[in-house]
């Protein structure tokens, strides 16, 4: 290995300067939709992506269902109802603004993606007559067949279609460039965003982007508690390239964050305990509602929320008596009674009843179209399933009409983790946003999984499109470009390149540092929090920053990217510790537990930012978004008029 020469030219210290009205930082689902929508409104757009836009990000390889399409023609729920349920289910600790955008506009953007070449309907009539298919529109639904607000999609077709649309609209795509920092007016903390910097992951060339508006779409943090030096690519649910760079650079620039104290006991890490998602037997998400059988082939009963056993497969798709609709799919945490859906009996009960492990997912006895839609459509279109699961299993002889796939553990996560093995999974914290999806930094917008309490493909696409629109409007109002502060640029160049000049023999590698951070977070920021522990964590991480970061080494631009990521993970870990320190009471909906709870009333949202010298925290009411519909309409008259015109035409 060490004798091999790096195959790309070295361009360290060469600076490439580019300019556009709107820059989009991260080319995943939200980023592509943001770029497309800003370009459609006549602004020049640069899209900067660490990997390759065609397939990069959590949704690049596929996606099998689009959630909360409350305005599709078959939906039985209103966007107001659905967002109210999401808020209520989380006792208000949720992003009302972004989820309303998802519920209200999602269907518009899904139709746009269809026009770009994404497949969203069963045009070949492969599933004609199925209970989940609407014969008129040929749309196919998942989970709640009565209310039809989750749409099954052929997600493997989406990302390449979005990338093509970006190019058609003249978006300048800059692949293989890792964004490293935000540039602010005069280099000041919290001042207007005037651009960003980046480094090429193959040549080391430095990039300076100038802009009138910037959109952060780099997803969310990972590898904060979980790491594996042997399988770093597998230690989290999300791809290796998304580890929270956006959060770290936002923090350094003075952006405000919400809910960063929330973390959950890990659910997926196929580097260790669990199996690759959707490759093991289970009955959730992609596999909902597969039949499960026990070690002796005995079928495991499904029940409604009141414990009534469901005798037919058809009942697994119906709300309970007197219930309007139920939440399933991306909703992984146990929903409240009001929104709870059909489910197999809990494991303890099954054990009592004599069911024996291991369990298996059994599609063989399901109605033919239900079997075919799980094995072949959902498994096949879902992220990471097309090749390593559907293709490989089929080639190895797996036959869903007679074979059954083993479940590991007893839940869909296929493993049980320790309390200190934590993850930002489900709907974790992130950037705080207003009704324009703008942050507290003027000109800095955010979309997708970078937003606080966000999740899912449709949410990313919808908030991406929305932020693209808002950023375009903002850019159009600016007088011109503000030149970047050259001291800020020079300091960033020095920070970025430092590890290339490190000690090749004794320098600390990205893996050693990542492992150390993860262990520190397990020790000092596990399930039970208290001030002394958290402060010890702060102390240790500060020491890593001062003493270890300057001793790191990267042999080439690829390893430099990995190291810069770990520096960002270090910053994210510090944000999390600070957010934990700012909350003084246990808050179950944030899975936040304090053994030194101060006994006062539970605080609402706690937002924190770094003002350049210290951490500043403030409380924000849970209903800060106000009347959701009224405020949406106040902020989106132009969009609503556009849509009305389209319908009339």
């Amino acid at each position: 290995m060490s004798e091999m020469k790096w195959p790309y030219p070295a361009k360290v210290s060469q600076v490439n300067r580019m300019e556009a009205d709107v820059i989009v930082l991260g080319g995943g689902i939200a980023g592509c939709m943001a770029a497309i929508n800003a370009a459609k409104r006549g602004q020049s757009v640069i899209l900067v992506e660490k990997g390759a836009t065609k397939r990069s990000g959590a949704g690049g390889s596929g996606c099998d269902h689009w959630e909360s399409a409350a305005t599709n023609p078959c939906s039985g729920v209103s966007p107001e109802d659905l967002v109210q349920a999401m808020l209520d289910d989380n006792d208000g600790y949720n992003n009302g603004i972004s989820h309303y955008i998802e519920c209200r506009e999602g269907w518009d953007h899904l139709q746009d993606i269809e026009k770009m070449g994404g497949k969203i309907r069963d045009t070949e009539d492969e599933f004609k007559g199925a209970a989940f298919r609407d014969e008129k529109t040929k749309l196919m639904f998942a989970y709640d067949y009565k209310n039809k607000f989750t749409i099954r999609i052929w997600g493997t077709t989406f990302k390449p279609a979005m990338e093509k649309e970006c190019r058609r609209l003249g978006v300048k795509i800059v692949d293989r460039v890792m964004v490293t920092s935000l540039l602010t007016e005069g280099g000041k903390n919290g001042a207007k965003c005037v651009g960003a910097t980046g480094v090429h992951t193959r040549t080391g060339e430095f990039y300076v982007f100038s802009s009138k508006a910037a959109i952060i779409t780099m997803s969310r943090p990972a590898r904060v508690w979980l790491f594996s030096a042997a399988y770093p690519g597998l230690c989290e649910f999300r791809p290796m390239c998304t580890i929270g760079d956006g959060h770290a650079m936002g923090w350094r620039a003075g952006a405000e964050f919400n809910m960063m104290e929330k973390s959950v006991r890990a659910e997926f890490s196929s580097a260790g305990r669990s199996f690759p998602p959707y490759s093991a037997g289970n009955n959730h998400n992609t596999w909902y509602p597969a039949s499960l059988i026990d070690a002796e082939g005995k079928e495991i009963p499904y029940a409604d929320r009141d414990g009534n056993i469901l005798t037919d497969v058809e009942q697994r798709f119906q709300p309970a008596k007197g219930q309007h609709y139920f939440l399933k799919g991306g909703n992984i945490e146990q929903a409240k009674y009001a929104y709870d859906g059909p489910e197999t009996l809990p494991y303890d009960k099954l054990k009592e009843m004599g069911y024996k492990l291991p369990f298996y997912a059994d599609l063989s006895n399901m109605p033919e179209l239900e079997r075919k839609v799980i094995w072949g459509m959902m498994v096949g279109q879902e992220g990471k399933t097309n090749v390593p699961v559907y293709k490989n299993f089929t080639e190895a002889g797996f036959d869903p009409t007679k074979d059954v796939l083993q479940c590991y553990g007893v839940g869909w996560t296929s493993a049980e983790f320790l309390p200190q093995e934590r993850q930002l999974f489900g709907m974790p914290g992130g950037f705080m946003n207003d009704w324009d999806l703008m942050t507290n930094i003027p000109g800095l917008f955010v979309a997708g999984d970078s937003l606080f309490s966000s999740n899912c493909f449709g949410h990313a696409a919808s908030t991406g499109a929305y932020a693209g629109r808002k950023a375009a409007a903002y850019a159009a109002k600016q007088e011109g470009f503000i030149a970047p502060c050259e001291t800020q640029v020079a300091n960033e160049m020095e920070r970025v390149y430092a590890p290339l000049g490190g000690d090749p023999v004794n320098g600390v590698s990205w893996k050693e540092l990542n492992e150390a951070i993860a262990k520190a977070m397990q020790n000092y920021c596990g399930e039970q929090k208290r001030d002394e522990l958290l402060l010890s964590g702060v102390d240790l991480l500060n020491r890593y920053e001062k003493e270890i970061v300057p001793r790191t080494y990267a042999a080439n631009p690829h390893e430099l990217m990995r190291l810069l990521e770990v520096f960002d993970i270090l910053t994210v870990a510090q944000i999390i510790l600070q957010a934990c320190l700012a909350r003084h009471q246990t808050c179950p909906k944030l899975e936040f537990y304090r053994t030194d709870d101060d006994g006062k009333a539970m605080a609402p949202f706690i937002c924190i930012h770094n003002d350049g010298e210290k951490v500043v925290a403030r409380e924000v009411p849970l209903d800060y978004a106000g009347d959701i519909r009224e405020n949406y309409e106040k902020h989106n008259q132009d969009y609503m008029a556009e849509k009305t015109k389209e319908v009339q035409a």
Binding site: T156, L234, G297, V387
Partner: protein
Amino acid sequence: MKEIKEFGFRQTPPATPLRFNAEKCIGCNRCMEVCMIDVMTPGEKGGHPVVSYPDECWYCGCCVMECPTGAISLHHPLMNQTRWVEKASLLKNRKEN
């Protein structure tokens, strides 16, 4: 047994995610260019890319989807290869009990 006259070194890989079929590969590097993790680097001219960072693979399958000739296969690490059985074999268990 193969005759062995001398020993060498191998960096112990925890897994080898990708296998190339040299006969099918046309050396276009499309697999390498589509990978979001940049796991591969260019190989010899006309040949397939080198898997320089196999540990960083996310097992998404995009490289396989992109390959125009079907020259790559991707496999989960051995520990992650899940198991299935014929349902009939379970029912047989039940009778024997």
